[in-house]
């Protein structure tokens, strides 16, 4: 019997794990289309009434708008600062690279709770009013290391001879960045920006501590749960899931595109070595 052959038990366990993972998701989506106010079985019929109700809700619309504004601002700022940081990090004096990278990436390990409280104390000390701006700052702190991780990896993979060739042909450092570096890594940057959007859009823990009088979509959902439980909450969850998923798919699609470009470039060289 070959070791690669799987027993029926393996299949059963795999199936069970997948059901366990996706069944709750499927239930949320299913009951968002429920005709009645119940969020548990029996399922009595399909209807879009909860979607109509939710989309007509003023508070829902304003929190969706707030979350979108925050996520777009955070991802744009992260794109600019994160790209500069990654560029500096891969091109500074070699002995500075490891310690700087450690400092930049360390926040990934911090619990959201800790970051939230720390920021709250920090804003209070500096007498900064809590608002959507403080939420943006908090989200930036949260998504920045993830963006940097992806962007730095792309710059590390770039053949240094390409930038040297551009310098050798007379291009200034800024021109090299615009004409060679950026065109080669932009798919990765675009993907990392989509990732930053997705991370910010559904962030809850840090937001919980530093949100002012305004509200974001995850905060809105949380407050709704306190009052009544009806399919409207399923509708909001489903929409949140859909929006986040779209941006994860975008991020993934760019990553695949970048990987293809790399494979093609390496093919040329490997093909040569084999020829």
């Amino acid at each position: 019997m070959s070791v690669t052959q799987r027993s029926p038990i393996t299949y059963a366990v795999t199936l069970l794990a997948l059901v366990f993972l996706y069944l709750p998701l499927a239930m949320v989506v299913l009951f968002s289309f429920h005709a009645t106010g119940a969020v548990s079985f029996p399922f009595t019929g399909f209807s879009l009434r909860w979607y109509r109700e939710t989309l007509g809700d003023e508070i829902f619309r304003s929190t969706l708008w707030n979350s979108t504004v925050v996520a777009i601002s955070v991802s744009v700022v992260t794109l600019v600062i994160g790209t500069m940081a990654a560029y500096g990090l891969t091109r500074c004096a070699p002995r500075l690279r490891a310690p700087l990278a450690l400092l930049f990436f360390l926040p990934i390990t911090l619990p959201g709770l800790f970051v939230g409280i720390a920021l709250l104390v920090y804003f209070a000390r500096l007498d900064i009013q809590l608002s959507l701006t403080t939420v943006m700052i908090g989200h930036f702190v949260y998504v920045f290391p993830y963006f940097l991780l992806v962007a730095k990896a792309a710059l590390d993979r770039l053949d240094p001879a390409l930038e040297e060739a551009a310098a050798d042909l007379g291009a200034s450092p800024w021109r090299i960045f615009r004409k060679v570096t950026l065109p080669l890594i932009w798919p990765v940057l675009a993907g990392a920006t989509a990732l930053a959007f997705a991370l910010s859009f559904d962030e809850f823990i840090i937001t919980f501590f530093i949100i002012g009088p305004d509200s974001t979509l995850p905060m809105f959902m949380y407050s709704r749960l306190h009052r009544t439980v009806d399919p409207a909450i399923n509708v909001v969850s489903t929409l949140l899931l859909a929006i986040t998923l779209v941006f994860w798919v975008i991020a993934f699609a760019f990553a695949v595109r970048a990987a293809r470009g790399r494979a093609r470039a390496t093919d040329t060289l490997l093909g040569e070595a084999a020829a």
Binding site: E164, A165, G170, V180, D267
Partner: protein
């Protein structure tokens, strides 16, 4: 001298931390010369090329281009261009835009005409719209050559451009490089670890070992009159035999090799005492054993097309002696047979050896 010499290195030393990559290298390269920096990997030749390109600032020493000190000029302001080991074509641009890159940067007029001229020089007209991944290795290097030459650099630097190619394409590209050098008249500084390439291409060769210049000379000089045992072994095949110089008289030297007296050409700087005798395999004649001549036992014979490469055990020598017998001279010597060894005393080279 300075008037026509394009590139001068004065006492260039470079250290990576505590490792010395180049030790006090001084070198003058004339206008239009094809100079090859030759040596094993890690000998400092690539470091020197990157210093000329401007990617590395030397720890000590100066670099002058037409008498102007450019040691501190960044690479994008130097009138030199480089062909990289693995072409390093921009993958997001097609062939035309790769070649046009330097012209667009400098804002040159007639970009289209100059790119076409450069592509004609490397015989790639019609490939303008191809991308790097649609080209063969030889074509990649031709584009890299055109991309550098289109800027009409005073000095063209080539960093092992043929190392990644297979033998047939490499020989083809060697001929292309010689032709392009003739047609452009530019100064070429070429780095390689392949002595065959160096001998075939260069006007002059600079032999490097461990950061030091071992010898500078024409291919012929280095082959016939190597200055050091390293140069003798690295350029071409050689027997480097430990001898004792017994007597010097004018243009001749008498020496003792494994108890047998030989004569060899003498030269300035040669002293009596320990020395090395460099004997190329192809100057050795194998024949019948003569009375008091040198003799050896054949231990290996390999057919090489043009002849037979033989290895002989010689009494009194620690290493086997290499000899080449041309295929026309008939059958190769028999394995295990004793055979007489002789050579033309004008075709060997004697070096001084520091006593150990």
């Amino acid at each position: 001298m300075t008037e026509e010499s394009r590139l001068e290195l004065e006492g260039v030393t470079h250290r990576y931390g505590t490792v010395t990559a180049l030790q006090d290298v001084s070198l003058t390269i004339s206008d239009g010369e094809f100079v090859t920096l030759l040596g094993p990997s890690g000998c400092g030749k690539t470091t020197l090329l990157r210093i000329v390109a401007g990617f590395i600032r030397p720890s000590e020493g100066r670099l002058l281009l037409q008498g102007r000190d450019v040691t501190r000029i960044p690479p994008h302001r130097r009138p030199v261009n480089m062909v990289f080991q693995r072409a390093a074509l921009f993958p997001h641009l097609d062939v035309f835009e790769n070649v046009a890159f330097g012209l667009r940067v400098s804002g040159a007029p007639d970009i289209e005409a100059r790119v076409t001229e450069a592509l004609r020089l490397v015989r790639l007209v019609g490939f303008e719209r191809r991308r790097a991944h649609e080209l063969s290795g030889g074509q990649l290097q031709r584009v890299a050559l055109a991309r550098a030459l289109v800027n009409r650099p005073r000095v063209l630097l080539l960093d092992e451009p043929l190392a990644a190619l297979d033998l047939r394409i490499r020989l083809e590209m060697e001929a292309e490089l010689r032709r392009v050098h003739r047609e452009t008249g530019a100064t070429f500084v070429y780095v390689t670890h392949d002595q065959g390439e160096a001998l075939a291409l260069s006007d002059r060769i600079v032999v490097f070992d461990q950061g030091n210049v071992e010898q500078v000379g024409t291919p012929d000089e280095i082959y016939r009159r190597p200055a050091t045992p390293f140069a003798a072994r690295f350029v071409g095949d050689a027997n480097v035999l430990p001898v004792h110089v017994v007597e010097l008289s004018g243009t001749r030297a008498t020496l003792d090799l494994a108890g047998i007296r030989f004569s060899a050409p003498s030269h300035d700087g040669l002293a009596a005492g320990p020395g090395w005798l460099v004997v190329r395999p192809e100057v050795i004649r194998l024949g019948t054993v003569a009375g008091d001549g040198m003799r050896g036992v054949v231990r290996d014979v390999a057919f090489r097309g043009s002849g037979f490469a033989c290895e002989l055990d010689v009494e009194g020598l620690s290493e086997p002696m290499k000899a080449e017998v041309s295929a026309e001279s008939g059958a190769p010597p028999e394995l295990g047979s004793a055979i007489g060894i002789a050579w033309d005393s004008e075709a060997v080279c004697l070096l001084s050896r520091k006593p150990e």
